[in-house]
């Protein structure tokens, strides 16, 4: 497996990221007045001496504020996330940021997919990719990925039912050479895995790239290990790569290594896990809140973001690829206050 984005040992990466991210802090301060006001109010003055000292924004701020570092007329695409509470993030991309995010996503995925486009099976329905100027997270995920495949086959029909005959036809045509499978973790399990097992289909030449979390599968006692084991045992699919990414840092994916179990950071990105009380970086092996750093966000100040996910770093420079290896442990439970005022707007009481 050749890679050109999982190369830097942690000390080298941190040095490079520190300088590039410091430069991005000052770039966004100059170009995004709301961001500048936040930095001013925080009293951020000097450049950060380490990546851990870089000022972060809470990722949900993109759901409440318009944060963009290029003039409106240069925005070519606005990405939106799905919102659980009606709020959606709005991420503004200009030509350059859009190009670099797809380029870096391609280079990241080429590590596991190889340089050529493979025949591609999408565990979704074609309709999920809609209007090209504004996408849902699911649509954006699928749309971002379809560029990495060819001869696409969508597994689900318009009612989200798996089309077994279509799957069989795809495998008859492409199943004896490497092919790409993409989908959300839960959908891969419910539709592809269960259908393939039931019909005895051979997925051994597939390379699965999946994302979306384990919460829905936890009810069925399926974690990453079980997911990999069962797919391998029942369908022959062993090349499986989970990834962690978010619309607020589009183009940056933290990719599961071939050995399974750990996510790795590409050279232009990193994670820091923070103690939820002191907000200091925690040592390897201690769970905390995940901060994601990436040099890709140039058109909006999404370069250093505190997520609402919990995670743990398993090791540094000791895995299949250099840098930090980590896992995502789940979501921070949403804060709730008691009271009688405007915090409760959820319709009829």
């Amino acid at each position: 497996m050749l890679t050109d984005v999982f190369t830097l040992p942690q000390p080298d990466k941190e040095k490079r990221l520190r300088d590039e991210l410091n430069a991005l802090v000052s770039h966004h301060r100059q170009s995004c007045p709301p961001y500048a006001r936040i930095m001013d109010a925080l009293g951020v003055r000097d450049e950060a001496a380490t990546v851990a000292e870089l000022p972060w924004l809470p990722v949900r701020l993109f759901k409440t504020k318009k944060l963009v570092s290029v003039p409106d007329d240069q925005v070519i695409r606005v990405l939106t996330s799905s919102g659980t509470t009606g709020e959606v993030s709005r991420i503004h991309l200009d030509r350059e940021a859009a190009a670099s995010q797809s380029r870096m996503l391609a280079r990241t995925l080429a590590t596991v997919l190889g340089p050529r486009r493979l025949p591609m099976l999408v565990v979704d329905r074609p309709g999920v990719v809609g209007d090209r100027r504004s996408y849902s997270a699911r649509g954006a995920g699928a749309l971002g990925m379809v560029n990495f495949g060819r001869d696409h086959r969508w597994l689900l029909d318009a009612d989200d039912r798996p089309d077994v005959e279509a799957l069989r036809a795809f495998l008859d045509q492409h199943g004896r050479e490497p092919f790409l499978i993409f989908g959300f973790t839960f959908m891969v399990w419910s539709y592809l895995y269960e259908v393939a097992r039931e019909h005895g289909l051979d997925l051994s030449q597939g390379i699965l790239v999946h994302s979306g979390g384990w919460k829905k599968l936890a009810d069925r006692a399926v974690d990453n290990t079980e997911f990999r084991r069962r797919l391998g045992a029942d369908t022959g699919l062993t090349r499986i790569h989970n990834f962690y990414g978010m619309v607020e840092q589009i183009g940056t994916v933290f990719l599961e290594g071939p050995e399974g179990g750990s996510l790795y950071c590409p050279d232009f990105a990193d994670v820091i896990v923070r103690d939820p009380v002191t907000w200091q970086e925690v040592p390897v092996g201690t769970p905390g809140v995940i901060e994601v750093l990436s040099t890709l966000p140039t058109s909006y100040p999404g370069h250093v973001l505190l997520t609402e996910d919990l995670g743990v770093v398993h090791g540094v420079d000791d895995g299949h690829w250099p840098g930090k290896r980590f896992s995502v442990l789940g979501r921070l439970p949403r804060a709730e206050a008691r009271g009688c005022s405007d915090t409760f707007q959820g319709g009829t009481p």
Binding site: P58, K65, G339, C340, D342
Partner: protein, 407 residues
């Protein structure tokens, strides 16, 4: 279309059953049978074990003591001329906020004291304190006149528009709590032509601290002030309608800065001593709130002292937010005198808590506001103390009808 009976406790009932006429003799304003019942409830609420578990129930217990109830009735009668008779309004439908705090009990109790037949919708998401109240109410029924159980009804049902519509259509007064959106949603259901709404929409509340008053106060009084303020702010995660949010420092800029520093240090001590904390998600929520306010401009400096305490220095009064920024987030703004607040105040502003001002200053401010906004001006520590005059309404008066007789 069934409802779960919470008071009197029981199984499921239909709306038709709930609204069925019971043939009982109606209650009068200040009916002794109701006064007795509420007094029994008060005694049970004031049991030390219960008050320890839910301090807010202790305050409710005080409010429902016989002396308080009779005092409220006396005040009502004192406002009426000799040619005026007072009667219950009839059937009152109460829709308290989604996560019930004890306020709904206050408004129900006053309505019951006024002799009304009440139907209270207790949210399915009601909090522990509400369940404790319901237990007390049910336990007190044994000693009560049967008329109480026949006329005072508390039910829980889900998002059933048909039930809400029917209860609305058959009520003489509808009491709506829970924010602008909730009020708007509920108002889509028509009332009978002669009926009316009493609404408690979104409110915003603030604290004001006199710089000279602070400087003149003893160290002990300053500590007490910080303590009282902390109760006001932290008890309901700073999210109750009367919880103070922004703190106006009133006085000269230079001493104001010292006062702020000392006040924040004392507040920090209180928070630490009480062991108050917020969870990680709330800590993040607070960053979203504070950073968002800073993004809009007007925040000169923000400091996250600990998860439970964040302070923001605002450039000017106009930068003052009216929305919630998360539990334990305190914007500060310095103004030379109280007159500066007058143009700022709006209809939705409810409670001003104060420290270090004298009565004349407070009365002068209230007069200048002219009723445009701010319904209560109360000392630090009294923000959450419910009063029979709330949101500008004399509740007992709202719950009755007047009949005049002239010869």
């Amino acid at each position: 279309m069934t409802l779960r009976m919470r008071f009197p406790a029981g199984g499921d009932v239909s709306v038709a059953d709930l609204l069925a006429p019971d043939g009982a003799e109606p209650l009068a304003v200040g009916d002794p049978r109701m006064v007795d019942f509420l007094t029994t409830v008060a005694k049970r609420l004031l049991t030390p074990a219960l008050a320890r578990r839910h301090p807010e129930l202790g305050s409710l217990g005080f409010f429902l003591r016989r002396r308080e109830l009779l005092g409220a009735l006396e005040r009502l009668h004192g406002t009426l001329g000799s040619d005026t008779l007072v009667f219950p309004r009839g059937r009152v439908f109460h829709v308290p906020p989604a996560n019930v705090d004890t306020i709904f009990v206050y408004s129900w109790a006053l309505s019951a004291l006024a002799g009304n037949t009440n139907v209270v919708r207790v949210s399915p998401r009601s909090a522990e304190a509400a369940d404790a109240v319901l237990e007390v109410l049910n336990a007190s029924l044994a000693e009560a006149d049967p008329v109480v159980a026949r006329t005072q009804l508390m039910v829980t049902y889900g998002h059933d528009e048909a039930v809400t519509a029917q209860l609305s259509a058959t009520s003489d007064l509808r009491v709506l709590w829970g924010g602008d959106r909730a009020v708007e949603n509920l108002r889509r259901h028509p009332l009978a032509p002669a009926a009316r709404d009493l609404t408690f929409p979104d409110r915003s509340s603030f604290a004001m601290l006199s710089v000279t008053g602070w400087v003149a106060a003893s160290p002990q009084r300053r500590r007490d002030a910080a303590n009282a303020f902390a109760n006001d702010a932290y008890w309901f995660d700073q999210a109750a309608c009367s919880s103070p949010r922004t703190i106006f420092l009133v006085g000269a800029a230079e001493p104001a800065e010292e006062v702020r520093a000392e006040f924040v240090a004392l507040l920090d001590d209180v928070v630490r001593e009480r062991g108050w904390d917020v969870d990680a998600a709330m800590a993040v929520e607070k960053r979203v709130g504070a950073y968002g306010l800073a993004a809009d401009g007007g925040v000169q400096r923000m400091v996250f002292h600990r998860n439970a305490l964040a302070t923001l220095e605002l450039a000017e009064v106009s930068a003052t937010p009216r929305h919630w920024l998360g539990a334990g987030t305190f914007p500060f703004v310095t103004v030379p005198d109280l007159a500066e607040l007058v143009p700022f105040v709006r209809r939705r502003d409810q409670t001003l808590t104060h420290f270090g001002f004298d009565r004349d200053e407070l009365m002068a401010l209230a007069s200048r506001l002219g009723g445009r906004g701010v319904d209560r001006i109360v000392p630090f520590g009294a923000a959450l103390t419910f009063a029979p005059v709330w949101d500008g309404h004399d509740l007992l008066r709202e719950f009755v009808r007047l009949v005049t007789v002239n010869d």
